[in-house]
């Protein structure tokens, strides 16, 4: 009887501990969103999202907006995610299909985990050193390459986990029908494509929000992106530079820029969720 009560109390206690943790996470996220919204909504205007800055934008009297940084950020994050996917997807499929349980796979996972932990400013410095060596200048291309290094471990390890979760029988079934390894890859990809999309989304979200890696490599400009070899503006740096000014009006624009960034990420998340449920129609659970 006593034991029964104790177990109930235990259960109740841990239920509330978990609820408290959940609340903490929700409240923190809510506060961040609230602050961004509260302080940025006043400065948000159609001009803000549709025009590049005009003269004196950072000195409070200028007009224009951060359209150049919105486009620049989308280019940077999309380019980096695409480049990282082109490397990560074959790597992950290789270690799962061609060399499973091998030392290569384990070493690769370790390397990716270490890469994940490296601060993005270090990638920025590395990218910068590489640019100097190659005689490149700050540009969209250099920013994409550096940012790709930042998001590569996120994409690869997330996709790796997804592929690890694929049912063991998929292997046996596909091969028992006389498939080659390449044909098996096709089936494996069908099974894991929703997870791959999640990995891509995570990488994109991380990439579009990163400031340190693009600081030296993509540079910053008040112009619209002009080409792969020209510098581009990005939203995180726009936030950074605007927040760094002493003018309250410009700081408010920083919050408005952060709000735009948040809305972009939210929109892409929702679109991805919708496509995941469509693409996941045939997935074996």
């Amino acid at each position: 009887m006593k034991r029964k009560k104790l177990r109930r109390a235990e259960d109740l206690f841990f239920t509330w501990v978990m609820r408290a943790c959940l609340m903490t996470a929700a409240v923190v996220l809510g506060l961040i969103l609230f602050v961004i919204f509260w302080r940025g909504i006043g400065a948000l205007s159609w001009e803000m999202v549709s025009q590049p800055p005009s003269g004196g934008f950072y000195l409070s009297q200028g007009g224009g907006g951060v359209f150049h940084a919105i486009v620049g950020s989308l280019y940077l994050a999309a380019g980096a995610t695409l480049l990282a996917s082109l490397i990560a997807v074959p790597v992950v499929l290789y270690i799962h299909v061609y060399s499973p349980n091998g030392r290569l796979a384990n070493n690769l996972r370790l390397a990716l985990d270490i890469m994940w932990g490296i601060p993005s400013i270090v990638y920025g410095a590395f990218g910068f050193a590489l640019m100097i060596y190659l005689g490149m200048r700050a540009s969209l291309l250099a920013g994409i390459i550096t940012l790709a290094l930042v998001v590569l471990p996120i994409l690869a390890r997330t996709f790796d986990e997804v592929v690890s979760m694929a049912p063991r029988h998929l292997h046996e079934t596909t091969f028992s029908l006389g498939s080659t390894r390449l044909e098996f890859l096709g089936v494996l990809l069908r099974q894991t494509v929703p997870g791959l999309l999640t990995a891509v989304l995570l990488a994109f979200g991380r990439g579009i929000g990163d400031a340190a890696s693009v600081l030296f490599t993509a540079g910053f400009t008040n112009n619209m992106p002009e080409g792969l070899l020209r510098p581009v503006a990005s939203l995180p740096l726009a936030v950074f530079f605007q927040l760094g000014t002493p003018f309250p009006e410009v700081q408010a624009r920083a919050y408005a820029s952060a709000l735009i960034l948040t809305v972009i990420i939210l929109t892409i998340s929702i679109l991805a969720q919708l496509s995941i449920s469509r693409l996941g129609r045939h997935v074996i659970r």
Partner: protein, 249 residues
């Protein structure tokens, strides 16, 4: 004529020996049942026939399996060809992550068997397993929407669409409800004149119902094999007699 002849086959998982010196012939166009208690190596033996064991990295195999007179473990053998000619129906129904139609069409597509009449092949195979009337309205739906018994029949159609010569069944009715299981049994019985069938089962009654030839395994060794009638009526070995009397198992 023996499509499959096993000669001194030994299999190890790491250091543990799973099959010891197996030598037996599988008769042509008959149903051969491999019986024995769990862990006796019957599934291992079955999966050695189409080299599915190779997927396990720990596995070590020596000996020969002759298929149409050629050793399938000889160097340079095309494994995909072996697996195409020797099909497998697994223990649990496992549809591929695609539609009902695409599941059956998968094999003919990769092997280029369709020659422009893919949908005829799919229809014919679904009819052959008695699934056509149940799914003809929803061929584009996910295969996972089918019931367990329907899924297993779909898997059978998918295997047959590759046009194998031998069909291996690894306790293929064990995870199904009794009615679906009987349905699969009836199908297998009807396939005898087209395919050589080998099925693994731990169900002695199922072996009695279906088998023409029986192989009895115990702890990785082949204890006794022979035509079903003789095997069940006059088992030679004491171990077989005890197993059939359900004194051990």
């Amino acid at each position: 004529m023996q499509p499959l002849s096993i000669r001194k086959l030994n299999v190890w998982y790491g250091k543990q020996q799973a099959l010891k010196d197996i030598t037996v012939d599988i008769p042509y166009h008959q149903i051969t049942a491999i019986i024995g208690p769990s862990g006796c190596g019957k599934s291992t033996l079955l999966k050695s026939f189409n080299r599915l064991l190779d997927l396990n990295e720990q596995v070590r195999i020596n000996g020969q399996i002759l298929f149409d007179g050629e050793n399938i473990y000889a160097p340079g053998v095309d494994v995909t060809d072996i697996r195409t000619r020797i099909g497998l129906l697994a223990q649990k129904p496992f549809p591929l992550p695609m539609s009902i139609y695409d599941n059956v069409a998968y094999g003919p597509r990769i092997h280029g068997l369709a020659n422009g009449n893919l949908s005829q092949i799919v229809t014919a195979q679904l009819q052959a397993v008695g699934l056509w009337d149940e799914v003809k309205e929803r061929l584009k739906d996910p295969a996972t929407g089918l019931s367990g018994g329907q899924q297993q029949r779909l898997c059978l159609a998918r295997t047959l669409a590759v046009q194998p010569e031998v069909l291996l069944c690894d306790e293929s009715t064990a995870s199904l409800d009794p009615i679906s299981a009987r349905g699969i049994e009836e199908l297998l019985r009807g396939f005898k004149d087209k395919y050589t069938l080998v099925l693994v089962t731990h169900d002695i009654d199922q072996a009695r119902r279906l088998a023409d030839y029986v192989i009895f395994m115990w702890l990785g060794e082949l204890v006794e094999h022979g035509p079903a009638r003789r095997f069940f009526e006059q088992p030679q070995q004491e171990l077989t007699q005890a197993y059939l009397a359900r004194e051990i198992g």
